[in-house]
Amino acid sequence: EAAVTQSPRNKVAVTGGKVTLSCNQTNNHNNMYWYRQDTGHGLRLIHYSYGAGSTEKGDIPDGYKASRPSQENFSLILELATPSQTSVYFCASGKNTLYFGAGTRLSVL
């Protein structure tokens, strides 16, 4: 069974603070993705990766960085969090068919 684990599940951050969202997959997939989900927008792609050491910009990368230190791990970094980044963030792995984590609910106050 494919497994994607996100941490933390919930996070409250202050405006201007640094936030790191973590994702671990045991599927041995090369591709990993970060999406955010907002009402009326569905899922929007922030960053993705083809493998360890690679990161690519998705459709809405501004204000976010990504890091892929290993095949298993893919992080999303908000260097200076803003209230507009309050959202639910999903990590996924796979090629075409995606396997999703349970999501991280981030509130930036």
Binding site: Y35, G42, L45, A92, K95, N96, L98, A102, G103
Partner: protein, 113 residues
């Protein structure tokens, strides 16, 4: 670039009724098409996918979808819905030569007992 339109934000049906959730995609090449379901407080789970071949694809829990190239559509259907089908359904498209999967805005399905 590919895109997906799900025109219905919400659909309400009675238990036992038939269901169709609409999806139209935009992509000039050969698309890979997907339907995912999201239950409350969970990630998305794959319902079914179409890559090629028979345009009618079967998925889990009695769902099916039909790829109609002439209409750029990939509507999801179920003959008889159950209250447990209440969830948000996402249509998605990707291209064979890219690694990007683009999602629609989702349709929230409510099944009334």
């Amino acid at each position: 670039a590919q895109s997906v339109t799900q025109p219905d934000a919400r659909v309400t049906v009675s238990e036992g009724a038939s269901l169709q959730l609409r999806c139209k995609y935009s992509y000039s090449g050969t698309p890979y098409l997907f339907w995912y379901v999201q239950y409350p407080r969970q990630g998305l789970q794959l319902l079914l996918k179409y890559y090629s071949g028979d345009p009618v694809v079967q998925g889990v829990n009695g769902f099916e979808a039909e790829f109609i190239k002439s209409n750029s559509s990939f509507h999801l259907r179920k003959a008889s819905v159950h209250w447990s089908d209440s969830a948000v359904y996402f249509c998605a498209v990707s291209a064979a030569n890219t690694n990007k999967v683009v999602f629609g805005t989702g349709t929230r399905l409510q099944v009334l007992p």
